[in-house]
Each structure stands twice: as C-alpha cells, then as structure tokens.
C-alpha cells in the first residue's frame, strides 16, 4: 500500500521549513526556492497554503511529457522525473493543475516531490502536523477531499472575498494533542 503526504493548510504557520529542508536534502544547499514543496502565503491574513505534488491518479505531468521523462515510481507511488530524458520544455510545469511542479532556476532542472524514497523530510520537520505521511486508505482519501474543499475558501478569505473561516480556532489543548499525535507517528 502506498503512503502519501497529506497537506492540511489550516494548520500551516508558513515557516517554510519544508522548503528549506527539502532543498538541503535534495540539492545540498539551503535555498527555499529550490525546494520541491512551496508555501503560498498571505501573511497579513494568517493564511498559508503548502503546495506540493499530489501524485494524481491520472497525472497531467505524465500525460503531457513528450519524452516520457515523468513516470510513477511504483515502489513509493511518487512521480519522478528522469533527468536524462527531460528536455526542459516545461510542459509539466504548466500542465500541473496545482502549480506543484517546479523549475530549478539555477540548473533548469524540474523539481518534483519524490517522497524522499518513502521517508519525507518535510513531514519530519513540519512543526504543526500540516504535513503528515499516511497510508492511502478510504480515510486518507476523505481527509484529502476535506482539505481540498477547504482550500478555495481559504483563498477567498485571503483575498478578502469570503466570510472568515467558520471554524473556531483550535483551543491550545487541542493543538497540543495534534502535536502529540504527530509525534506518535
């Protein structure tokens, strides 16, 4: 059974540790712009949305690639880019509906989450559990749906177009539990 990174934007505090550790792990340099995950921030609204590969069932990046450089790694479920085949046309960058396929400005290489071969660094360092690594199951699927549903509302709110989040902020006790739950993993 695959595991996948579940993103809960409501918990994100925008610290960008995920971007920075990702870059250190993969590129050996602390450069958030070269991370394979990215946090979109509306800091004046306190709204932060991490964006990374969703490992779609029918990945646009794979379909659109003229050289079949983007393929699924069936060991982890991650979408990978074969640098030897990639011709740098950026089709996958533009095709991704989440904007989650990135370009390394320094090298021209495509940056795509590879799940760190099944042990994602970003999840280890995310302080609030906004990123978690879970078995793909019915339950996870529902969680993904719920998080996806929440996104447009967060964005509307960030742009000042919607009602504020209906959710009452989590009381500190609950936050603590979340943290413990996450550490338990």
């Amino acid at each position: 059974m695959y595991k996948t990174v579940v993103i809960d934007a409501a918990k994100c505090t925008g610290c960008r540790a995920c971007e920075n550790y990702c870059s250190l792990k993969h590129e050996g340099v602390c450069a958030p712009s070269r991370g394979r995950i990215h946090v979109v921030k509306w800091e004046q609204q306190g709204i932060f949305v991490p964006v990374s590969c969703m490992r779609c069932q029918e990945p646009a990046c794979e379909l659109v690639c003229p050289k079949c450089a983007t393929r699924r790694d069936f060991a982890t479920g991650a979408m990978t880019v074969d640098a030897n085949r990639c011709i740098g046309c950026l089709s996958c960058v533009f095709a991704c509906p989440f904007g989650a396929t990135f370009l390394d400005q320094e090298t021209g290489k495509i940056l795509k989450c590879d799940l760190c071969d099944g042990d994602p660094t970003c999840v280890k360092v995310c302080p609030t559990g906004a990123l978690s690594f879970e078995e793909v199951s019915q339950e996870t699927y529902l969680k993904l749906l719920e998080n996806a549903d929440r996104l447009p509302q967060l964005v509307r709110e960030a742009l000042g177009q919607g009602e504020p989040q209906g959710t009452t902020p989590a009381a500190p006790q609950e936050k603590q539990e979340t943290q413990e739950a996450q550490e338990g993993q």
Binding site: G14, N20, L24, V29, Q44, P164, P169
Partner: protein
C-alpha cells in the same frame, strides 16, 4: 563560501550607487551578524555625525547561519547611530526578511546618504534599484508592504519598512516587517526616515551553501525533535508568551505603571490576556524555518489581524493600568502600523499617567485629554499624536526627557531613563543581577540575558537553579534574585553568550535563553555549515571582542561609568507590596557590583573604559590607538 555569502552590499542614496565588497576579511574576528555589524558601524560612522545626518550609516547584518535549515535561522541585526541614545543603536528582528537578503546574495547591507525624495530599495539578486516611493509615503506599515508587493508583481517579495512615525522622524520609530515583527528599539525607523527611505524590498533566488550538508541536515532534524520535547517549546508554541507574562506579574518581575507599583491585585486576579488569546488566536506563528511559534496571530473582529509577542502584552496592560484586552490589541496594532517602538511608546503613556496621577500635569498640559490611568482615550490619542507629531505628540516624539523638560523640574525628577531610553520594563529593585545587566548594558536595554532569566527561573526550583548558577557562572548566589553576589560574573558570561547567536544570525531565545542554555549546539551548527573547526570558547572570545568594541564605540561617543546607572527611583523608593515587599537597590552594593564587573572585564573602574591591555589582548589595537589616545 559556505555559510556566508561573502558579499557586503553598500548603497549610497545620495549618489544613487551600489557597490559590493568582500565579507571574508572580517569573519575571523567578528563572525557575522551583530558582531560584524559592530565593526562596520565603527568603521563607517564618523564621530560627530548627527543621527539624522545622511552620513549616519544604517546597517543590516545577517549571520553565517541566517537562512539555513538550523531551526530559528530568521534573524537579522540592525545598527546605526541611535537618535535616542546618541550611542550605537541595536535592534534585531526575525520573520522572513533576513533570510531573503542571504538568498539574494548578501551578508550585510549598508545604506548611506539621503535620497532627494521618498524612495524605496528593490534588491533582486544582483540588481539593486532605487524606486520612487512618493505614492506610498504616508501609508502604514501593512499597506506599504502590500503596495510594494503589488507594484513589483510578486507577493513573495519581503519588505521591511517604516510607517508614518519613521517618516516624521519620531526618535523611537521602528522597522516593521510582516504584520508585527519589529526592529523595535533605538529608533532605526527614524534613521531610515531621515534618508527618505520608506522600505527595503528583497527577493533572492539563491541559497546558503553548506559545507557538510548531510550532517547539517541530520543535526537539524535531531534538534527539531529535541525542541519538541522541551517544556518551553510547548508553552511558547501553544500559548506564545501570554501565560509567561502573567507569571512574571505574579513574581514581581514585571512592574505595574511607570515602575510605580507591583502586584496590582486586580491584574493578578484577572489578567485577561490568556482568555483573550484563547478566544481570538487563529494560530500561533513563528519566524523563518523555526518550529517554535512564539507569536499569537490574533484576529479580532472590528479591530484587525496581526501577530504579537512578549512586550506589548505587558506594555499595553500593566504598564498603562489597563485590563481591557480590546484596548491592548488596538494599541498594539496601532503602534505596529504607525511603526513605533511599543516599549518606548507604552513608557511615554505610562509617564504621562504618573505625572497626571501625582498632579504634576493636568489635562491642559496634554491637549485637553485627561491622562487617567488605563484610560482608552489617553492611550490611543497619545500614540496617534506621537506618530503624527501633533500637539504634545511633537514633544514626546523627541523622547520622554524632552517632554519632562517641558513640564518642569518635578517631571524631570520623575522620568525613568537608562542611556536616554526607556529601560526594559523589569522590576530592578528585587532582581539585583538584572539591575546590573540593565545598567552596564550597551544600549540601556540588553535584556533578557541568561543570567537575568536565571533569577526568574530560581522561583520554580531554588536549589536546582542555584546549582545551575554554580556550574554556569561559578556562584550559587548568582541565581538568587536578592543577592548581590556572583552577579558581575553572571553578567559578563551572559553578555558573551548573547553575542554568539546574535552574530550567527539565529534566535537567542532558542540558543541562549529558553531551549538550549549554552552555545554548544549553535557552535556545532556553525562548524557544519561553514566547514570551520572552532570550539565554543572561540566563539565566546569573539563575543568578548564584540562586547569591547561596542563599548569602545560608545566611549568614543563620550560614554563613561556614570552612564551605567539606573533611575534613582530604584534606589529611593522600596517596593510597597508583593513577594519582594521592601526591596530596593542599595547604592553602595550596586556600585560594588559594577566595580566587580569592570574588574572582570578588564576595564578601568574609575571611567568604565576598557584598558589598553584588554583591547590589545582582544586584537583591537587600532581601536585602542584611535579612541584611547585622547584620554591618555
């Protein structure tokens, strides 16, 4: 280079030029961040230059670890000549701006000269542009950041800016980035305003090179794990500082009013901060790459959104006799948007309230507003008037001393300042080591230091923390608040420790005060990042060199032993109640602590000036040559 980017960016607003110079020759002696910043201000500031003169350089300093994956790597230090103290200014802020400067390729940014009309700087990697800011001049700090991001078409541009207070040269105007991260103290916003500079916008596409990336990554993940286990982490990340503030009031560490009272019963019984945070905190947030979330992001309908931490929680409650948290939040957002130091602004209001309370001034002296304790009108109108320099605000904008002089000798007698600035709002009568650190500190406000927090920690487990004090500072009594013993050594060691994270560009809360209480972890990160092989003692020695150079800058400005003092209230008026009822500073013992401090430091006891031998030992011969020859 690893860690450092290797470049110092120098911008002259008068000539509209920008150049770069190498960092490398400085790092062995001054490390980076605050330490290297001190050397830069020492070399670039010409004695006699006024704080508002174009010749006063404004210097931003990141450290070798700023922007790395080391938790808490978001810090940047700021210096110039302070328009408040006329000494070296020092301010430090977090959030996301400092790392972005590193990613753009710079360790330090020196801004000199003065633009002939309002402008802002746009630093995008190698490109530096001076852009017109006439259309954003007058906007508050939140609007300014938004307007610049929109104009540049990139919401990820990081902006540090001034508000109306900085434009109007309010002497304690501050720098603001994001919603409330401030380069708060010593008037850096006013210096920026005097240059007609509204903001510095940065975007970098690069990164920080790491000498041993694999080990660095493992170390960082390990430290994140350790931090999560720490009680201080859990408190800060779940609550921010609000419950700590309540505790500080309980132990008489925080004063009430203008150092007038302690243990205000009403405040102790129903300090409303915690409930308020519970109700209106959307989430806790922190700085770049930091797992700690020590700031509350509050969203209060009808008032607004933003972050807050520590000082406003006491500044706009106890210090101004206020228990209405809506008022606290309005005042906090107001100073952040206007771009004013909340500590100094709260002290201004507290000062007026004390004068009014004692009948030294009437409503006539304050433009018809009665300065009743805790009054909503008094607090909010005073803050707005200062920022806009209206009425009495025009005088207060020059500082409390100027206002006191206007009101007459009785008011002058009441004013509580250390080196021209509001002291940190701690109760110095009961906490002797804290008093010493405040008095000798380089800007009149170096707190908190490790030795000072130890006096607070002591209440939780006296014997344990006395043992800690013995190990760390060589004397058990260094932890006991009421003792004068061992405090000088605690001050000296704490000062060296503090300069290490400040010079590395990381958060001293994590690597000095609350999580790790020494510099060993920071040293390990430093070596892995830069490829150096220096031990903690080496870094602490740099801390000592930096401390001495800071002192010499101030000595060059005329600072002497007599300036290392505290307001006389702390020696004359004992505490009236609370656990430290009757506590007061004994002048003789206080001066003895100072003697001891100078002696350990290798400074002349009569004058408070570092001796030539000390400076030579630290490799500061050139400084000794320049500054001491006048006194020889």
């Amino acid at each position: 280079m690893y860690g450092w980017t290797g470049k110092i960016l120098r911008i002259d607003l008068s000539n509209r030029t920008s150049t770069t110079e190498p960092t490398e020759s400085y790092i062995d002696k001054y490390l980076g961040g605050r330490g290297l910043g001190v050397r830069l201000i020492y070399e670039n500031y010409k004695p006699g230059t006024d704080a508002f003169d174009p010749g006063n350089p404004l210097i931003f300093s990141t450290g070798p670890l700023t922007g790395t994956s080391m938790p808490g790597s978001g810090r940047v230090d700021v210096t110039a000549l302070s328009p408040m103290s006329k000494l070296r200014a020092k301010s430090n802020f977090g959030a996301y701006w400092g790392p972005e400067v590193k990613f753009a390729g710079y360790d330090h940014v020196i801004i000199q000269g003065k633009a002939d009309q309002p402008c802002y700087l746009w630093i995008k990697d190698d490109e530096v542009e001076i852009r017109d800011a006439s259309h954003i001049w007058g906007k508050d700090t939140h609007e300014t950041q938004k307007a610049i991001q929109q104009e540049l078409g990139d919401p990820e541009v990081k902006v540090v800016c001034i508000g109306p207070a900085g434009e109007k040269l309010v002497r304690f105007a501050c720098l603001i980035t994001e919603t409330g991260d401030a380069g708060g103290r010593t008037g850096m916003g006013a210096v920026m305003g005097s240059k007609n500079l509204k903001a510095v916008a940065v975007r970098g596409s690069g990164g920080v090179q790491i000498a041993h990336p694999q080990e660095f990554l493992e170390q960082a993940i390990q430290v994140v794990r350790e931090m999560r286990e720490h009680p201080a982490y859990q408190e800060l990340s779940n609550w921010g500082t609000v419950r700590g503030v309540q505790m500080m009031y309980g132990m008489s560490f925080f004063p009430v009013g203008y150092f007038e009272d302690v243990c205000w019963d009403e405040l102790l019984e129903k300090y409303p901060g915690t409930e308020y945070v519970k109700k209106f905190c959307v989430k806790n947030v922190g700085c770049f790459n930091c797992p700690n979330r020590c700031m509350n992001f509050l969203s209060v309908p009808g008032i607004g959104k933003g972050v807050t931490s520590c000082e406003p929680f006491s500044g706009f409650t106890g210090e101004v006799w206020n228990l209405d948290m809506d008022l606290f939040w309005e005042a906090t957002l107001l100073v952040n948007k206007l771009g004013m130091d909340s500590s100094e602004a709260a002290a201004c209001v507290g000062f007026l309230m004390e004068l009014y309370h004692h009948g030294i001034i009437t409503a006539q002296d304050t433009d018809g507003v009665a300065m009743d304790r805790g009054s909503r009108e008094a607090i909010l109108t005073t803050l707005t008037k200062i920022a806009n320099r209206e009425g009495l605000g025009d005088v207060l904008a020059e500082g409390q001393k100027a206002a006191a002089e206007k009101f007459g000798p009785k008011a002058v007698d009441k004013v509580d300042l250390v080196k021209g600035m509001a002291p940190h709002a701690y109760e110095f009568r009961a906490f002797k080591g804290t008093a010493l650190m405040q008095a000798v500190g380089h800007r009149g406000d170096p707190l908190p230091l490790r030795g000072s927090l130890l006096e607070v920690d002591w209440h939780h487990a006296p014997e344990w923390f006395q043992q800690v004090a013995k190990e760390q500072f060589g004397d058990e009594e260094a932890a006991i608040p009421s003792s004068y013993k061992g405090k000088a050594m605690a001050a000296v060691i704490s000062e060296h420790m503090e300069r290490v994270p400040d010079s590395l560009g990381v958060c001293k809360w994590l690597y000095n005060l609350f999580i790790y209480q020494d510099v060993n972890i920071a040293t390990r990160f430093f070596n892995l990042a830069t490829g150096k092989d220096w031990d903690s003692a080496h870094l602490l020695k740099i801390g000592e060199r930096v401390r001495n150079l800071e002192r010499m800058f101030d000595v060059r400005q005329g600072l002497r032993r007599g300036d290392d003092s505290l307001p006389k209230k702390f020696f004359d008026v004992p505490l009236s109640k609370g656990p430290y009822k009757g506590a007061v500073l004994e002048r003789e013992k206080f001066e003895q602590m100072k003697d001891e401090y100078y002696e350990i430091r290798g400074w002349d006891k009569e004058t408070g000036i570092p001796t030539r031998e000390k400076l030579v030992e630290l490799g500061l011969e050139d400084v000794a040559e320049e500054v001491l020859k006048k006194d020889a």
